[in-house]
Symmetry: C2
Subunit: 430 residues, 2 copies
């Protein structure tokens, strides 16, 4: 089996699973219980939170543990829910004691990218928002960003690395723009706060994340994308930001996320993060070598069949098939601003889903894009945003390498992908 979809899910590493195991059946105690074994579980839990936090240059108390990136993002966005002005609450002579319940909260605007993950794009719909454009590599259009950064904007949410293209956004630069905007607001007496949130789910195992260096106020992390277990995430939260819990209860996680703590999950998350952090530069080097080979091998895909007239007609991308060459494959994104393990690639005119099934039969597993979107058969909003035509989107694959891969696998996979692509082009030419 050659698994090339690490952006969708990663296996729990052996060390991580080993670290988690005692907390299921032996040290299973409720960390809030008053006796010694439970207090030891509490210590292990808090220590794991510290480990996760240290990996991003923060303290354990800066983190809120969640059930995953989606929840972290939705929780982060509540920073844009500004409390209703006190005066108006009081002036309303309501006979009910629960006036604040039905009082419409005031919402600040959220800016985010048109290429963000569904978790961001769906969550943002609950707030006034605008989407910022990207360039053909998926990098933020800073002019468009500056234009849309109006006085009502409270939260800017930009993923550190895109989940389909692996495009790494210039967060430090964005943070600098926000610093100037805050200064401007201060001078003008505008009291609206301005925060930067980043979804770093895809980047954690390949990027040396430091919240201060990146200049983020809120950061979403996801265990399942870096060798940790599914169902665990975290939200880093700088001091002084008010969030509104998504659910209420026993008051765990400083009241921001109630419910008995998922102890084995957090222990696993911490172990995976530490492991990823320890191997950061060697992983990057390893993936750079592998993606170089993969790109080289795929670039040799025969373009003879592709330039057949029928293929061109089928590909629907050329107004005048007689005149131009299809130069497949098209590698998407710019490797200079891309996670080292990503090779998103387009074979114009082909049906990527057919490719996936063909390769599945040879035990090579990859996908067309985000698993949750791919599953619905809808076309990728990310690839549309970088200017790909429908036919190009239909022929695009997301290859994302990870811990399960080695160079031999990559050579074998490249060969199999190349064969499958050529067969498909030949089939179309017939």
């Amino acid at each position: 089996m050659i698994y090339l979809d690490h952006a969708a899910a990663t296996p729990v590493s052996p060390n991580t699973l080993r670290a988690m195991l005692p907390y299921f059946s032996d040290d299973f105690f409720n960390p809030s219980a008053p006796y010694l074994p439970a207090k030891r579980v509490r210590e292990a839990y808090e220590s794991a939170k510290n480990d996760i936090a240290h990996a991003i240059g923060a303290k354990g108390t800066d983190l809120v543990i969640t059930a995953g990136a989606t929840e972290s993002i939705n929780l982060a966005f509540t920073a844009a829910r500004l409390s209703a002005p006190k005066a108006s609450v009081r002036s309303e002579a309501s006979p009910r004691s629960d006036a604040e319940i039905t009082d419409a909260p005031r919402f600040g605007k959220i800016l985010t990218l048109v290429t963000e993950h569904a978790a961001v794009l769906e969550a943002v719909k609950n707030y006034p928002h605008e989407l910022v454009e990207v360039d053909k590599n998926g990098l933020i259009n800073l002019d468009d960003f500056r234009k849309k950064l109006s006085d009502e904007v409270v939260l800017v949410s930009i993923s550190l690395a895109n989940n389909e293209l692996g495009t790494i956004q210039p967060l430090a630069e964005i943070s600098e723009i926000l610093r100037f905007e805050r200064q401007k607001r201060l001078r003008q007496g505008i009291t609206t706060p301005l925060y930067l949130h980043s979804d770093a789910s895809q980047a954690l195992s390949l990027f040396d994340i430091n919240v201060a260096r990146l200049g983020v106020d809120l950061l979403t992390l996801n265990a399942a994308k870096c060798g940790g277990p599914k169902g665990v995430g975290a939200l880093y939260l700088a001091h002084g930001i008010t969030l509104h819990p998504l659910s209420f209860g026993g008051g765990q996680e400083r009241g921001l996320r109630s419910g008995t703590e998922n102890v084995p999950g957090v222990i696993g998350f911490a172990t995976a993060v530490k492991e990823a952090k320890a191997h950061l530069s060697s992983s990057r080097k390893k993936y750079q070598e592998m993606t170089y080979v993969l790109r080289q091998e795929l670039a040799h895909t025969s373009i003879v069949a592709q330039n057949d007239k029928k293929v061109k007609q089928n590909s629907q991308i050329l107004k005048n098939p007689q005149e131009s060459l299809i130069t497949a494959p098209i590698f998407l994104g710019n490797p200079k601003h891309q996670l080292a393990n990503f090779v998103p690639v387009c074979f114009p005119g082909l049906d990527a889903e057919r490719l996936i099934y063909k390769l599945e039969q040879q035990e090579v597993y990859l996908s067309t894009g985000a698993a949750c979107a791919a599953n619905k058969g809808s076309k990728s909003h990310v690839l549309a945003a970088i200017g790909l035509s429908d036919a190009e989107i239909a022929g695009s694959l997301r290859i994302s390498l990870g811990s399960t891969n080695d160079l031999d696998q990559i050579r074998e996979a490249a060969e199999k992908i190349r064969q499958a692509v050529e067969q498909e082009y030949q089939r179309l030419a017939r």
Copy 2:
């Protein structure tokens, strides 16, 4: 070690852990991914959901998987968020396209018990609500319930079994009252819906739950209280009820709970539920025998020292210490309406926290009440609601048996508790 706090946390059973293991590192695929191994994971996940659902007489598609009981309860309560009347949305000539964002939703009233878990009592604060009284055994006061069941009530939330007393509420009877109320509303042309939600977290491993027989529209389940892993829960949802997601994203769980599915967690949940269900009557019998022995042994606690004048003064419960006897222990709740594994017991005048530490040194682990509340040092609202004085609350222990216990352990624990209690009474008498 003798663990007597199964209401706070249960160990993951060996079978359950065994069932979960393959899904961490081998079958780790994203269930929404398009290739065969991922589709097999999807099948296993849906099959596990079916198993959980079947155990309560429902279908897998009736369940929404969550990160635990707290989230399930908070999600269930959104049934009381009635959509804003269409007309008012339209009449508001707002220049923004997102009018519904800032439109205050209309909330129906929620009725719940004064003795519910913090997850219910905190979540309900976001809605208009009233708390229904209980009797001295913690059973719902049906007169008070009928009185408070006004036309604005949309949701009634009554736990199947209380987490401190183990008191089993007469859900079928409550459901019958709601059925009459619905008929009355129908006759009177009142269109406000009326739903019954129950938190069955504590009851799942000891009670033959069937949603139709109980007459519930919504039911909260929790893996971690029945031998499953922490961080996994479910909400059963009858057809035709509109819920509002707490967070938004990839659209998993019918759009009600986005985020990559916690596959090992749900596999574990299903295994634990099936195991609990298979052993339901034998477990109940086993716990009945053990709690009988425990009650017998504890009842013999020497009351000589207790009737000392100083103890009585200390206990603060007697106006005239010379005249009355302290008849410790007081067993709380009525065993006829109590989960078979619960022995909540009060030693008036004692400091239960001192007892816990004394017993901890002998490796007997129990607690004063709900772990999340106990941790904060606040006095139990449940024991206050059933009419206990502060001194009685201060002297109360929650003993909850489970899979880790056998009869020898219970005899040993009873002996140790008795000794600790007598020593404490003697210390006070000195």
